[in-house]
Structure formats: C-alpha cells, structure tokens
Symmetry: none
Subunit: 210 residues, 2 copies
C-alpha cells in the first residue's frame, strides 16, 4: 500500500478545488478528501499544503473553507449591476426596481448601489468602439469632467456621449462624423453617471456580423 504514480493526484486535487472555487463554493478539507477518495483527512490536507507551497493556492489560517486562488483573494469583488430596460425618465431608483437582469461587475472602489447598466441604441459612438446593442456599465454621479464618457438625460431620453463643458454650455459629443454634437444650457442636461465599462455579449452562436 504505497501511493499513486507521479503528481497526478495533486493535479486532480487542484482541479477539484479550482472548479469549486470558480463555482463559488469553496470546499472543506474533508470534501477534498471524499472527492478524491482518500481515507484520511490528513492526506487531503497534505496535498493542499503542497499546493499552497507551490503558490497555486492561498490558504486562510484556520478559516473554514479558507482556500483561495491566488490573485482573486484580494481586491477582486463582484457586485451585480441592474440592467435598466426602460430609459430612466424620472429618478433612477424607479427604473432599478424593474431591471432586465443583472450583470456581474468587478467593483473595486464603487459601492454596489452606485452601478447600473444600459443598452446602447444607435451608432453615434462607433468611433470609440461602442456599437449598437453594446452594454455600458455606469457609475452614478451628477457631474463629469471634460472628455468623460457619460450617460446624460436630455428631456425624456438618455444618451451616451462624450462630455465637454464650455462655460454655461454643455456639449454632448457623439463619436461618429455622421452625427452632430448636442449643445445645451447646463440646466437642460442631467448627468446620470459615467461609463466605466463597455461590454458586447456575442453569445454562443453567430459570428461578428461584419
């Protein structure tokens, strides 16, 4: 009664732990033991210690289900941003109550409630790689700096544009030569937030369509 060939077993241990972690369900040492068919807790424990030594896992001392993948243990924090279906005509909060779904966002430095997402309509921003149907993830803020990509409400409509202010006047500039900039008085524009991320979900089927 000895052992198993090469480092095969440890590879299986790592794969098991990694998959569980990626699925959001960190395993216990005993779950590893059972999954791999060890008859002693210690055996699973030793493999895990080994993986930590090799830097492939990170252990939290005395924490239940404390193993993590290196790099994901710190900083990375995921929150859900609601995808607003209707254009927010009034207060944003009203629209959030009935979202089209949620997008997981790696939010470092942005509180959960401060994020939302909108689907882009029109081709006014194709010059900066934002195509119709893309999702923009927005962090709420009432102001913007020149050059910021913002979501602004003009009248009843919300649009994604590049922000630029000239004194009392605000210019919402499209990034497509076929469209003209919108210039308004600052009082006629409400900045809903700043675009912090752009996503295009291609899905399982279909090509680029180009």
């Amino acid at each position: 009664m000895g052992r198993t060939p090469a480092g095969e077993t440890r590879e299986k241990v790592f794969a098991f732990v990694r998959d569980r972690l990626l699925a959001g369900q960190p395993p216990t040492v005993r779950e590893v033991q059972e999954a791999l068919g060890f008859r002693a807790v210690r055996t699973a424990q030793q493999h895990l210690e080994r993986l930590v030594e090799e830097g492939r896992l990170v252990a939290g001392r005395h924490r239940a289900r404390g193993y993590r993948l290196p790099g994901s243990s710190e900083g990375a924090r995921t929150v859900l941003a609601p995808v607003l279906g209707r254009v927010p005509a009034g207060a944003l909060d009203a629209a959030v109550e009935d979202p089209d779904g949620y997008l997981p966002v790696d939010a470092r430095g942005a509180a959960a409630g401060d994020l939302f997402a909108l689907r882009v309509r029109g081709e006014s921003m194709t010059g900066v790689g934002i195509l119709p149907g893309d999702l923009v993830i927005v962090r709420r803020q009432p102001t913007a700096a020149n050059g910021d990509l913002v979501v602004a409400r003009v009248g009843d409509e919300a649009t994604v544009k590049t922000f630029r202010s000239r004194g009392r006047r605000v210019e919402l500039r499209p990034e497509n030569p076929a469209f003209a900039p919108i210039v308004l008085d600052a009082g006629a524009v409400a900045i809903l937030g700043k675009v912090i991320e752009v996503r295009r979900i291609l899905g399982a089927h279909g090509g680029t369509g180009a």
Copy 2:
C-alpha cells in the same frame, strides 16, 4: 436601545451576503454581524433566518458558510474567468496556473473551467469594435464555424480573428482593411476557443482617448 427604521437593515444584510456570494466568498454569520456592526451574533443570525423565510436566501444546515442564493444552480450564475497574462504557448492549462486576475462572467451554459480571458493587442479587429487593450472572454473549444470570432494559436502566438475555412485551408481574417488575412493549412492552426464577450474597462479616470 431599540432598532433601526424600516427593513433597511435587512436590505443591507442581503446586499452584503449577495455580494460576497457572487465574489465566491460565502460569509459566516459572524462576518455578517461584524460587517453590519451588530454587537450580537444572534442579530445577524435572525436577519439571515428572515431572508431565508422570505426565500431570498437558502441555508445549508450546519454548514460553515452555508448560505446560498436561491436557484444558483440555474439562472444567472457568475463564475470567474482567469485573465491569462502570457500568451498560451503550449497547453492552456499551463497558462491558467498563473493568471493576471479574474473577471466575473455570467456563465449560463458554460462550465466554469471552460472560460478564460485575454487582452487584445494590435488594431487588427477595430472594424468590429474591438480595440487594443480590450478584454475578450473566450470559451474553450477546438473547432469553430465560419464567421465565428475565435482565438487561434499560430506558432507561438495567439490572435483574435474571424474564422473561415475553405476546404483544407483556414483563413483568419482581421477586421481592419489595413491588415491582410492569414491563410494557413488547417494543421498549422489551433483553435483555442471562441470569443463570447468583449469588454473595455475605462476605469474611474480618463476619457475615451479617441
């Protein structure tokens, strides 16, 4: 000392637990207690029990960090895709061992281990709105259909291109008139996977750069 207004607190408890779950780090009752500033474990415990009653959480009996989101087996499910820093020269698994970080991905229909992400270099795909520095999220698969956006390995390099096959020959087509298609024998190309999503993280500062 009494309490806090309406059901505000419970909402915060739920948000905290949900965020932690989505981040792949289920919290303990005491972590909830501490995060919300309760002075008794029991208080956090009661809120959690309440959330379970309301069906907003699911509890695992006597399991450490046992709270889950209901229906997490189906519906929106977030997994973390490793961002591969180096171009995968050999097997993909080797590169996954040392990722640059992880991206939260809403993976419906894709197993956790089947996803990874790469940072795009070069301007060969600007025609379909993929700019240098963008992140592509890829689902591993060894084959592709005409028109698919794929990550392929040619020699030591991995590139993002539109896939097209003509008999024994494979064409990797850039989406930028300034670049020429790459035409190779099928044996000289290895399909690493298919691009299912494109992301551009603009961050808190800076404009569009266009």
